[in-house]
Amino acid sequence: MNERNKIDKKSDERVVEKLSPSNEILQSILSNMGDAVIVADKEQKFLVFNPAAKQMFGTGATSTTAAEWSRQSGLCLPDKVTLYPPEELPLARSIRGEQIDDVEMFVRNATTPNGMWILISGRPLRDAKGEISGGVIVCRDITQRKKEETFAAGQGGVLEMIAASAPLVDILTRLVLLMEAQADEMLCSILVLSADGVHVKHGAAPSLPEAYVKAVNGAPIGPRNGSCGTAMYLKRPVVVTDVMTDPLWANYRHLAEICGLRACWSTPILSSQGDVLGSFAMYRQERRGPNAKEARLTEVATHIAGIAIERQRAQEALRERDARINLAAESADLAFWVIYPEQNKAWMSDKGRAIYGFDPKLPLTRDLLFSRVHPDERAAVRAVFDRACASHGIFDSEHRLVLPYGKKRWVIVRGRCLEDEHGNLLELIGMTIDVSAQKQADLQLQIQREEMEHLNRVALMGEMTASVAHELNQPLTAIGNNAAAARRFLERGNIDPVLLQQLLQDMVADSQRAGEVIRGIRSLVRKEKSAHVVLNLNAVIADTLRLVSSDVLMRESVVTTEMDHNLPQVDAAPVQIQQVLLNLIINALDAVEALPPAQRRIIITTRSLDGESAEVSVRDFGLGLPKDRPEKVFDHFFSTKQSGMGMGLTIVRSIVETHGGKISAENAPDGGARFFFRLPAVRRDTKSQAA
C-alpha cells in the first residue's frame, strides 16, 4: 500500500508538473474552487483530484483506481443504494469519448454519513493529434437543492391528497412525516379542535408513543394545558423549552418523561377566518427552542394543516346539509335539480329521478328532462324555461309529466337562474313537487260535486213534473188540433188558403215552442258544465218562474216578485243559477204546502247592494228554519222532508260559493224562512264589453 501511495504521489506530481509550468493560476483555481474537479488518463488513472474532490469523495480517493472507486467512495445510482457500475461512471464514459452533462449521483461514505447528492458533467481530453488522452469531470454538491425539491414534492403530495379529498387522518399523517423528514430527531404531532371548541382530538402523530397520543386525545384546552392546549386556547404559538420545569406542563410532565420528550413547541392552526382548528407541535428530546429552519417548517405545516382541516370541515358541513335536504326532500316528495343550459347537462336528486322516472345511473340532459313533459304542454313549458334563461330570472310552472309506460304525474316546478361573478348564466337550480295525489283528489271532488249537482237537477225535474208535462203538452195539443182542423177543412174541400196558411203558421210556432221547452229541460239535466255569461238575475228569475208556473198553480200557491230594476249584472252560469232558484222555490212551495191555500205565499225579491253585488231573496210563510241554528239547513243530508236526499241546499251553497257569492238563511220576524244569496257584480269594463 505504502509503495503504491508513493507511486501515486509521484505520478500526481508529474501531472501537476506538466500543467503547472504553463499556468500557476489554474492550479490556484483548482485548489480553491467549491466544485470537485477530477482528471484521469486513458487508463483511468487519476491525474487531478482537487481538494473539493477529496472532501466530496473521502480522503485517499486518489489512491484508488477508477474500477474500485464506486465501492470505496460509496457512489450510488439515484436510488441511493445500488453502487454505480464502474463502466457507467461519468469519468469512465468521458474517457471513452462521451460528453456528459448533468448526471445525478448519490454519495454516502465515512465523511458524508447522511449522504450527498452531486451533479456531474464530464468531457474527454484529447492530445495535439486529437487522440483521446483521458477525461475530466466536474462535480457539484446539490444536496440542499435536492432536499428542497423533495420537501416541495412532499408538500405537493399532501396538497394533492387534500384536493382528492383523502381522509383527514391520512393527510395529516403524511404531513407530519414530511416535516419529521426535514430535521433529524424531531417528532411532530397535529391535534384537531372538536366542534365544541373545548376538547382536542387526535389528528396525527405517527412517531409519538401510543400511550402519549391516547392520553392527549379528548383533553380540554385551557391556559395551562401543555403546549398545544395552551396554544389553541391563547391562539398564539407556545414554546416550552423544558417540559420538566415549565408550569404549563404540570399535568403532563410525568407522561412526557416516560416518553422521553423534553421540549415542545406548539402553534395553533387557524382557519382563513382566524378560528382555531387545531395545533401543530414539534417535540425534541433536548432542552431548546426552535431555530429559524424549524420555525419556517412550522409555518408551512400549520398552513397546509389549516387548509386540510378547513376543507374537511366544509365538506362535512356540506354532507350534513345534503343529508338534511335529502331527508326533507324524500319526506316531502320534493326533487332537486340543476340544469346547465349551455352544456345541455342536468343533475337531479334521487327523489327527482324517481319522480321523473329516470334510472339512477342515467346521465341527464336538459332535453331529456323536457322529454318527460306532457307533449301538449312541452312547448309552453319550454317557452317559460327559455324566458327564465334569457332574463336570468325565475322559472315557475305547473304541468304534467308523462313517464315511460304512460304513467302521468302532476308537478309544480320552481327554479331560479344563478350567475357567475361576471353576470353570465351559470345554471338553473330548482325543485319539483309531485302534486299528483292532490290533483287526483281535487279532480275526484270536482267530479263528485258536478255529479251531485247534476243529480240535484234531475231530481228537480222530477219535482216539476206538472210544469214539464204542461209546458210540453200545450204546444203539442195546439199542433195536433191545428193539423186535425186543416185535414178536416181539406176533406170538406172548401178550405180558404189564408186559413190554411194561418193553421200551418201556428203549427210551426208551436213546434218551435215545444223545441224551446225541450231545450230548456235538456240544458237543465245536461251533465256538462255550462259556460259563464253576463246575466241579469231578474231575467233568470222570470224564466225560472215560467218553468215552475204549473207547479205553483197546482199547489194552489202564489209567487210574487219585487224586482230591483237597477240590479247589477253578474257573471254566472245560467243553468246553475236557475238550479239555485228552483231549489229555493221548490223548498218554499214545500214549506207552505201544509198551510191553507190563501196563505201559500212566496215572495222573491232582488236588490242591489251599492252596485257591488246583486242579492236575491226567496221568502216563504211556512214553519221556518230550525230555531237553534238556521244555517244547519245547508249541512249535508239535512232534511225535514219525507223524500229527498237532503243535498239540495248543500249543492245550492256550493254553486253560490263557486260563483264567488254567499248564501244565508234566517227566520223572518213575522214567520217563515228567508233565503238570500249575493253574487258579485261584474266590473264595469266587463259589463260594457258584454253590452
Binding site: T465, A466, A469, H470, N473, Q474, P475, L476, T477, A478, I479, G480, N481, N482, A484, A485, A486, R487, R488, F489, R492, L499, L503, D506, A509, D510, R513, S550, L553, M554, E556
Partner: protein, 126 residues
C-alpha cells in the same frame, strides 16, 4: 166561419192562447159554433148572464181553476155539459171533475175524432 145557426155554441176556456185558437179551428172545421175565452174570469162573467149549454175548459189556469168553473157550472140551471181538458193526468183533479160530473175528460194532447165526438154528444144533449 160557417155556422149552421140552429146548433148551440160551445164555450172554450183555456188560458193558453195557442191551444185556445187551435181548438177554435178544430171545432170550426167540424162546423161547430164557438165562443172562446182566454181568461176563466171572463167566461164566468159571460155564463152569469148567458145561457151556456156546452163548456170545454182547461183545469190549471191562472186566476180561476177549471175545478172552480166546474163547481160554478153545477150551480147553474140548466146545468151546462162540461168537457175537461188538462195537460196533466192528475188523479185528484180527475176525481173531483168526475164527482162534479163532466161529460168527458181529455188529457192533452188528445185525439181530434174522440174530442169532436164528445162535443157533438154534449151538443146533442144526451
Amino acid at each position: 166561419m160557417n155556422s149552421s145557426g140552429e146548433s148551440a155554441e160551445v164555450c172554450l176556456v183555456d188560458d193558453d192562447p195557442s191551444v185556445l185558437r187551435s181548438m177554435q179551428y178544430l171545432l170550426a172545421s167540424d162546423g161547430i159554433k164557438v165562443r172562446a175565452f182566454n181568461k176563466p174570469e171572463d167566461f164566468l162573467a159571460y155564463a152569469a148572464t148567458h145561457s151556456v149549454s156546452v163548456v170545454v175548459t182547461d183545469i190549471w189556469m191562472e186566476g180561476v181553476t177549471g175545478l172552480e168553473i166546474l163547481a160554478r157550472m153545477c150551480a147553474l140551471s140548466p146545468r151546462p155539459r162540461v168537457i175537461v181538458i188538462t195537460a196533466r193526468d192528475d188523479l185528484a183533479a180527475r176525481a173531483t171533475a168526475m164527482a162534479i160530473g163532466p161529460v168527458a175528460f181529455f188529457i192533452k194532447p188528445f185525439n181530434d175524432e174522440e174530442f169532436l165526438a164528445a162535443i157533438r154528444l154534449a151538443l146533442s144533449g144526451t
